[in-house]
Symmetry: C2
Subunit: 244 residues, 2 copies
């Protein structure tokens, strides 16, 4: 499986993804699931993927026009006029890849399915965040649903639901997402370190702070250990059940 989160805050967009891919439980590899395209000052596009690895890699390669010779390639993601058109382009590409992989064509429960979180900003328009389904259609994050998760989403959802606030700083979202990822990692083998993290600051049209968080990351270790203790303290701070 996979776990990716895209989050919209007042200051911009935040992305985090894990890197574990598995086919069965004894065939585990590390693959980047966060892909970034940038034309500094003009646009930043981020795409995170969950699902069949052959499908997601094919989608990325097609968007990058890797079917052409290297000198002729210009990623189509650098040419779309708006984020909405970018989401449509990604959606169409997913549909095409799944259709070509499945002998029976596109279906909701296809083995070749994949879903994507797309976020970014193109000069002259607003920063936007989309969740794109295997069927190629998509939804956009808004005030009421300011974040999207794909992959193994359930373990890490409660903390985001409770602690998210649109006024958060980037540092606070880093903390929030590390707690959410750590809860997932502790409960599910199919999500694993290292993690990729990226902050996009509104209207900069530039990739912001970017980091790969590995096993030896001091801050992640602090959060992981600290959260266990903080949770126990929080738990102990609740009133006792006194009806016995």
């Amino acid at each position: 499986m996979t776990y990716c989160v895209g989050l919209k805050i007042d200051r911009g967009l935040v992305f985090m993804s894990d890197t574990r891919t598995n086919a069965g439980i004894d065939n585990i590899s590390t693959f980047r699931k966060m892909h970034i395209w940038e034309e500094p000052g003009e646009r930043v596009i981020v795409l995170m993927s969950a699902g069949n690895l052959a499908t997601t890699q094919a989608v990325i390669s097609l968007l990058d026009e890797r079917s052409k010779s290297p000198s002729e390639r210009v990623s189509t993601l650098l040419q779309t006029p708006s984020m909405f058109q970018t989401a449509r382009l990604v959606g169409e590409t997913i549909k095409e890849v799944i259709k070509n992989s499945s002998p029976d064509g596109q279906s909701a429960d296809s083995y070749f399915n994949a879903s994507f979180i797309l976020g970014g900003q193109i000069k002259g328009s607003e920063a936007r965040l989309f969740l794109i389904y295997p069927e190629g259609n998509f939804i956009e994050a808004g005030e009421d649903t300011p974040f999207f998760q794909i992959g193994e989403t359930k373990y890490g959802k409660p903390i985001i639901v409770r602690a998210y606030d649109p006024g958060m700083s980037f540092a606070e979202t880093a903390k929030l997402l590390m707690v959410s990822f750590d809860s997932t990692l502790k409960s599910n083998l199919s999500v694993g370190l290292p993690l990729d993290m990226m902050f996009y600051e509104l209207d900069t049209m530039r990739v912001g702070f970017r980091k790969r968080i590995g096993y030896d990351d001091q801050y992640y270790r602090m959060i992981s250990d600290g959260w266990s203790n903080a949770l126990k303290t929080a738990f102990n701070s609740l009133p006792e059940f006194d009806e016995l």
Copy 2:
């Protein structure tokens, strides 16, 4: 869906289940999912169910011998010589019901599937806790896996993983399970109040403290509100990300 947890602590067994049943999202009902059989001083048997409601009700009815006239009925669960035999009996009954419901016979992904948590104690032997699969086979809780969840298990797992301790008191497990259920309820519509809770104290062979927790339950409200705040406090107590 459903959410049920059976927990083994040094002092005994703890059970909690929700009561929401749904077929689609506009067909929602309340059904008890915790069933208790007691012969005071001799045995206590608790069965919690998740899955197809027709299957789980049929299993309970068969175990209760409701096919007989009321005067002839003696629940077969009151006659088994050991908890292991009880688990086998429940397993066989599940298999039989699913087989009779499915035109194609038993299969792993049958629409008629159901799983059960079975716990209790029979005089002369130890208290035991089992998870029974739709296939009729089962596993037992031990030191390393002291709890079982069925239904919508993921949201509420992280807090149990982190805060569980075999030396807990019953009051502490009540708090723990309420937090776990509240996290699930807040994230998933298919799990709903009221909740059923029961404590079994080791070697008493008697149903212990028992309660139905409804919308107006003061303690549950305190935990639900308090946990949001406690989580925020816990979250704020973690060190800040200072690499920006």
